[in-house]
Symmetry: C2
Subunit: 346 residues, 2 copies
Amino acid sequence: MAEAPKRGKLQKGKATIFDVAEQAGVSIKTVSRVVNNEPNVRQRTRDKVLEAVGRLQYRPNAAARSLSGRRSWVLGLIYENPLEFSYMKDVLNGTLSACEEREYSLLLRPLTLPSPDLVEHIERFVIQARVEGVILPAPMGDLSELLRLLREMKVPFATITPKTLAAGQVNVLCEDREASFSLTEFLINRGHRSIGFIKGDPDHSASGNRFAGYQQALEKHGVSCMERLVRQGYFDFDSGKAAAAELLDLPEAPTAIIASNDDMAAGVLLEARQRGLSIPGDLSVVGFDDTPLASRLWPPLTTVRQPIREMAETAAGLLMNKLNGKAAQPPKEPFACEIVIRESTT
Amino acid sequence: MAEAPKRGKLQKGKATIFDVAEQAGVSIKTVSRVVNNEPNVRQRTRDKVLEAVGRLQYRPNAAARSLSGRRSWVLGLIYENPLEFSYMKDVLNGTLSACEEREYSLLLRPLTLPSPDLVEHIERFVIQARVEGVILPAPMGDLSELLRLLREMKVPFATITPKTLAAGQVNVLCEDREASFSLTEFLINRGHRSIGFIKGDPDHSASGNRFAGYQQALEKHGVSCMERLVRQGYFDFDSGKAAAAELLDLPEAPTAIIASNDDMAAGVLLEARQRGLSIPGDLSVVGFDDTPLASRLWPPLTTVRQPIREMAETAAGLLMNKLNGKAAQPPKEPFACEIVIRESTT
DNA sequence: GGATGCAGTGATAGCATTGTCATATCGGGC
DNA sequence: GCCCGATATGACAATGCTATCACTGCATCC
């Protein structure tokens, strides 16, 4: 009856910092130092503590750590809801892998646009979970209201977008314009002069950039950009098919069509096939993004690929550096895109 | 200099339960009651508190709540790493939506199999983040080591798998066998008697079930199941294509091929096309899962769809019910699958 | 009229960690 | 042998919440 033990009996995996301290014969603060790799702990002490940690299977309690340290070690990923999956798959993989490396957790926040309770959602996200920083893959970087809100809440964020944002922001650039330029040039070099273009959703800044690249390539090679060869699409299969129908109905139909993503290109392929056109004999078709779809279509699609996964990983990494006061961003490598030539082009 | 205020000046979104209590003129415990919808608070008091909450933009701090309440309000989703995306997309959407509804957070844990440090990963996940329960989409339910580990750690889990697990477990069943049975029967009814089958990865129990459904349908209709018409695949495009090549090389090639998923069916389509076969004229092809790919292929693929998203949502919901001591699972609805007939079959 | 019960409320003790600051120890230099 | 500055360690408060239990009224019961 002398003195109740400070903590209850140990249960596997439920050891606390007190148990470790007791086992190692040091104070809890020292355990904390060791566990967090802080300096000023003698090697012998460190070893003792680590041994106790191992024996007790001690794992610091994330909640306590975050409450006490006023750091949540949580990153948020805000993305557009009906998600373009092959893109988000890469974003997700890249972000997760960066988080894992630095022992951050990742919280997902799908957003259906337009979102009337955006503020509500984001506040919940940021205040309640105390999210430290947010990753904004395209097209979230285009939502000025969201950016404003995040700035107002003083939550650092990293964008993956074709748009250059204010300096000092973490901003990994998609080279959409360059990619589109190369792709168009590729077609021109193959002899095409009448090249149709199907734009993407106007709310995505990628759409504008891809179109701009197309225009610039045409201009460079002295091919006039004809408005009648440009159609509006919305990044989905059906709009691609519909736009292709219009283009192919033209008296002087184009000999090649650039769709602003692979899904629309798939639509073009279907429309062409239903008209009995041979591809690439009668019509060359190219897409964007090199989704898994591209290689499974018939014929396999020539497309252009950006290293999305790496870009996301970089964005998350830079963001975490910023959160931890590490050096300003290392010179952003330019993440070159790559044309993947398959059989849908002559 | 009389008495320092108990808390510092308010900053937007940083109000604590003390601030709310002060504003509302009640104790912090009462605020806690209101915020957590606990009973035994007079309506007038409740209103006062809610008003203060609104004015101060108070959001309970998740870390403090979880530390104090010994509940993390976090669910884990463990999935196979190179993810089959269209499947995981549905799983993710369903799980997230269930979590959102009940104000849980979701943590992701991709697992690359085989995983030598599975134990390490899971322990980190479960102990450090204090994950309360885990969702295991197929094929994670097949990893007996993982299940054993979770049981040992006393972490409840919910599986989405064709396999029936021990009673009392949350276990949403995929009707793979039934789906495959229907699909095979569909082909038989269309007159096919020589039906090839490409199995999936033998490590996924779905593979076995899909094959079993095929066999049973053949048997029911008195069509003998010929071993030479069955090939092993691994759920990927290339293995599907290779298996198709073997089947089509047969002296008496099948008139229809069932691939155990859409990606392999896409491989079959490509192989058939390269041999100049007309589809569905010379060969009918069907897949599984109704991925976006299925409707974009040429010809669009007849396939069978299971309501994965709903299944995941249900699994997560049941799991959370269990965690909160709610009634045992309501009679599991049988999540019927549906044959999606497109143009790849006669 | 005193005991009983219960809805409504609050004081206080955790929860498991990190931050702050004080203290102990060490290794030299003289 | 003593002092100094740096290094190493610990005591204790703070974090923001929930759990526990005690307390206050007030209606009900015999």
